[in-house]
Every structure is written in structure tokens, then in C-alpha cells.
Subunit: 335 residues, 2 copies
């Protein structure tokens, strides 16, 4: 049984390209006791991946040269010598960018096929959704009537942040790139305002859409947009640092020169990582699943087919050429 | 009765100099009902003054061209048509850089002469002391055993931050400029470690003195030192943003390029301004007064004589040529 795998060939400077990756075919080894074999179906492509390629101390160790690229995925168990998983089970876990993965069951959990479309387990009912849920509610701490600004607003995390903030009674302003995404977050997702950062002056647009200042800023992008948001904080504002996609491919990261706005406005800026909330994923999934069933929370996935397309598909995260959660399909849901 | 006043002549770019100020002599006007006349004795020179010269929205309005420079001071009431203040009372308030000030009693409070040396009411028992007290305890939230790092550690605020952190059972590392200040904070104030940023590599020195990372960083300086501290945060660290004296005279402020350390370490960075705690100054003064009486909290003032020396004395804040709280003496304690 051959397994197509995407290995890290060398660390990129700037955007990853073909030379970053090695696409190899290997044989799937024999299962040991306590292991199971997973056939990947959908692989999650995330901005955080760029960070894992850097050889620096972070919340997860960097992917090493020659290793399978780290990724979350949903798949199906095709063989098991593990007491908790049986052949045919659908599972979600860190199985990497490959067609088959051997797991010892750690950080792996079963998903119920049919309850929601399977790609949803990588988007709104998965890591990005949980990131939005815990980042907004625990770090952003929105209160009814607050103005909540979110960047990357049409993306997997930002779109959920904005919708949850609406459900909590906030005024929601989203920042996205291009008229299609702006139309989507306003008309389909119900955001109050949309800012097209590719076609508007961001400072002016934030001033116009947040006349009373920003109470919660949920930052997915960093750079100039973070700086513009800091310049418009309300008294006691909370800035939740989720990511900085505009900076991930830069060799020199731009810090917010106006961070003293935190002092002037008695505001706080706090970073978080979703894996700290692992024990509460179930709670978040139930709550968000209910909202989805009631039609109050919408989800969108952008699916690219074929494992060999991983290197080019990944770039859509950084050039913005996708709408919703970016997913790589590498196998059929049912064989 | 003539009054020497320091007025803002023009806004400085970079360091203030002689051209920034107008030294004028005016006549003290007649008192109206509800007013009192204060003879200034000690005037507080503070890093925040540089910020008040900038024509930008901040926590206080900028000083206007032609206005008396804003300053806190202690003085004595020499005439009163105000029911709450009598001739001879000693008071602390925003009386500006001038020999005589007319007040309507707002934001003015009496101080008891003799309880502590009068300059102390502008340092440890005044605004800088309260800044240290509330900033450390409410924003930094130190816990016994924490490593607390403070910059500007020999200054009016930093020296109190470090001493209170020691009283709360923390390991305290101070950053100061030059061997004299480092010796002072270690030997006189009892800090565990001192870093001489003028003679040491700051990144290496923080690594050496904070082997387990920084739990609380109290920042008075910004710039490279803030960046170095962010690079060494412990999990869940709190960064209290009190000021950024290294940046106040810059035309372009340097933001912390490694602010994503907040994400990696699930840390927060929060700004504060002491005037929000006005109602609790009494509590802080009583607690710190007790510590001082018990010899657990030491205070140091650096006093420059003569109102005409204001322009040059102010520069000592930025070149570091002083030890302890910088104060301008403009009158005798008793006439």
C-alpha cells in the first residue's frame, strides 16, 4: 500500500514554493499493537502552518526537515490494533499531509458522519471554529452593545468570530479583501459593516465604521491593520491576538508602533492558542452545532482536490484567493 | 506680587530645548470667591511631561502653546477664598511649572507636613508611588515566587515597583543605566538582580537573570528593552505598560516586532494610567506609608534648585543623569 506524503524539504524564506516540499511515495509499514491506520479524506490548510516552518521556539515544535508536514485532518480508520478505534470509524486528528497515517490514538477523536458535512469538522466545528469561539469569548470578552472589529473576516476563524459576536448582541465590523468577501460577510453572515482593505484606506474606514471606537478587536492579520485598529480603541478595549497572516512570510515582522494606545486607552492585548481549550472542545461543538442547526451560524469551505496540489493550494491562504475555510481533499468520504 | 512661569513656546521635535519654553514674569491676579492662591515649593518633573507636549489625543489634553506647563507640585496656601483650604495649608495638586498658582480646589488635596519629608509626596507617597502600586498589583498581578522584571528600575516608579514586588515574595530583576544605579537597586533596595543596559547585552542579560522566564514585566521604557523582555516571557505572563521613555523624544516610535510572543506564551500586555485610581490613593498612601515607617520601602529624591533651571533639569529624565525621583525646588518649605 503506497502512501503519498508531503515532506518539508527546506525552510522557506518568504512564501513557501515548490522547493519547500518533497512529494514522496512510501510504503505503509505494518501496524503495531496500540496503533491504527487512518486513510485521510480532508486535510486542513491553516495560516499557522507557516509558523510551524520557522525554526523558532513556539507553542508547538517546528516541523523538522524531512518530516511529514503537520496538519489536522479528518479521515477513516482502515485498520486498527487500538482498543478505542475500530475499522470504519471517522476520526479527526493531527495526521499530517499524507494519504495514510499511523496513529497511537493520541490527540485523535471520533467524529459522527452525517451530523454535519465532514469538511465542517475542519472548519466551524473544528479548530478554526474553536479558535473563534474561545478567542472571542474568553479573550475578547464581548459585552452586548460592544463594537467588535475582526480582520480576516471572511476566513475560517474571522467569519465565525463575527457571527458569534452578532449572536452576543454586538455591533460587528469585518475587514476582508475584495468586494466579493465584503458582500459575503455583510449579506450572508449579517455583519453590520464590511471594510475592503484592498480598496479602502483602512484608517479612514475604521474611523467611519467604528465611530465610538473599538471595544474588541480580534486580530488575524497583524501589520498595518493591527496598527490602524490600535489607533481607534475605545476605553478598556480588549485586543485578542489570534494570528498575523500578513507577517508570516516576512523576514522582518512589523510591530505595532502605536502600541502605547494600550496605555492611553487602558486597553489590553492578549495572545491565545486554541489547544489550551482542548478539554472544552465538546462544549463549543455542542453550542456551535446548535446554532448551525438553527441557521444562526453559517459555514463555508473552499475545497481543493488532490494531495499533489498541496504546495499551490497553501498559497491561497496568503494571497486570499479563496472564500471560507481552505481544505485539501485527498480521498473519498466512502470507498 | 510677581510670578515666574514656564510657558510652552513651541512643540519640540526630539528633545525639548531652550526654544521649547518661554520664561515669563506676570502679576498674580486678584483672587475670586472659591479660589485660593498656592505658593509652589516642590515641582514634580515626570517623563509623562514629554507626552503632554505632543499635539495628539491622549489620556490628558496636550498642553497648548502659551499655556503654563502642566506639572504636579506641593505648595502652601498663601491666601484663600475657598471654604476647604486655609492659609498655611500644605497641598498637592496640578499647579503647573510656576511660582504661584491660582486653584479652584479641584484635584487638589492637603498633605500633612512632618509625617514624611515633603518631596516624598511627589515621589513614593505621590503619583510615581501610586503608579508603581496600582500598576504592579492591579495590572502585573504578581504571585509569590514570580519573576518580576522592571525597567527604569532606579527611577521614581521602577524603584517602588521592585520593592513592592519583593514585599510580595517575588524574585525581582531590575534594569537600570550604569553601575551606580545597579548597585543602588541591588544593595540598597534589595533587588535580586540588576542589569546595566548601558554596559550589557540586554537579551543575554535577561536570559541570564530570568532563567525560568518573566512572569511580570513592568515597562517604563519601551523600545529595545521591551522587545528583549517580550522575547523571554513565561507562560501566562503579564506585561504592564506604564511608559516608554526611550521613545518619547523619537519622531518614529518603534513597536515591538516580536509582539507575537504574546500569542506563543498566552501572555497579555495592558496599559494603565494612575489617575484612574484617584479614589484609592488614600489606601495606597497608608499602605506604603506603613512600609516606609517600618523601613521596608525606601525612597530617594534628586532635587534641582530654581525654577529657571526647569528646561535643563527636565533633560535629566531622558539622559538618566539623576538617581531617584526628579524634583524642582522653587520655594522654601517655610517662609
Amino acid at each position: 500500500m503506497t502512501n503519498t506524503q508531503i515532506l518539508l524539504a527546506q525552510r522557506p524564506t518568504g512564501l513557501p514554493d515548490a522547493s519547500t516540499w518533497n512529494i514522496v511515495e512510501t510504503e505503509v509499514p505494518e501496524l503495531q499493537d496500540g496503533q491504527l491506520l487512518i486513510r485521510s479524506i480532508y486535510i486542513s490548510l491553516d495560516p499557522a502552518m507557516r509558523g510551524w516552518l520557522r525554526d523558532v521556539r513556539s507553542y508547538l515544535p517546528p516541523v523538522q526537515i524531512g518530516e511529514v508536514m503537520r496538519a489536522g485532518a479528518v479521515g477513516q480508520v482502515v485498520a486498527s490494533k487500538h482498543p478505542d478505534f475500530a475499522e470504519g470509524d471517522y476520526v479527526n486528528g493531527w495526521t499530517g499531509v499524507q494519504q495514510y497515517a499511523i496513529s497511537d490514538g493520541s490527540m485523535l477523536y471520533k467524529v459522527q458522519k452525517g451530523l454535519a458535512p465532514m469538511p465542517t469538522y475542519l472548519s466551524t466545528l473544528g479548530m478554526p471554529g474553536f479558535t473563534a469561539f474561545f478567542g472571542l469569548l474568553r479573550v475578547g470578552k464581548p459585552v452586548e452593545g460592544d463594537t467588535v472589529l475582526v480582520s480576516g473576516a471572511a476566513g475560517a476563524v474571522g467569519s465565525v468570530v463575527g457571527q458569534i459576536a452578532k449572536l452576543k448582541g454586538c455591533r460587528v465590523v469585518g475587514i476582508a479583501g475584495g468586494p466579493e468577501k465584503c458582500k459575503y460577510i455583510k449579506e450572508t453572515l449579517g455583519f453590520d459593516e464590511a471594510i475592503d482593505y484592498k480598496n479602502e484606506n483602512i484608517v479612514e474606514a475604521i474611523k467611519r465604521t467604528c465611530p465610538k471606537g473599538i471595544n474588541v478587536y480580534f486580530d488575524n492579520v497583524g501589520g498595518e491593520i493591527l496598527e490602524a485598529a490600535l489607533g481607534r480603541l475605545a476605553f478598556g478595549a480588549r485586543v485578542a491576538i489570534c494570528g498575523a497572516i500578513s507577517q508570516y512570510n516576512s523576514t522582518e515582522i512589523k510591530g505595532p508602533a502605536n502600541y502605547l494606545s494600550l496605555l492611553v486607552n487602558r486597553a489590553s492585548m492578549e495572545g491565545f492558542v486554541v489547544i489550551d481549550y482542548t478539554k472544552e472542545y465538546g462544549t463549543a461543538a455542542r453550542e456551535m452545532g446548535t446554532w448551525m442547526a438553527e441557521g444562526k451560524l453559517k459555514t463555508k469551505e473552499f475545497i481543493v482536490d488532490g494531495i499533489e496540489n498541496f504546495p499551490t493550494a497553501l498559497l491561497r491562504l496568503f494571497n486570499g484567493d479563496k472564500l471560507g475555510k481552505l481544505i485539501l481533499k485527498v480521498g473519498e468520504e466512502e470507498l
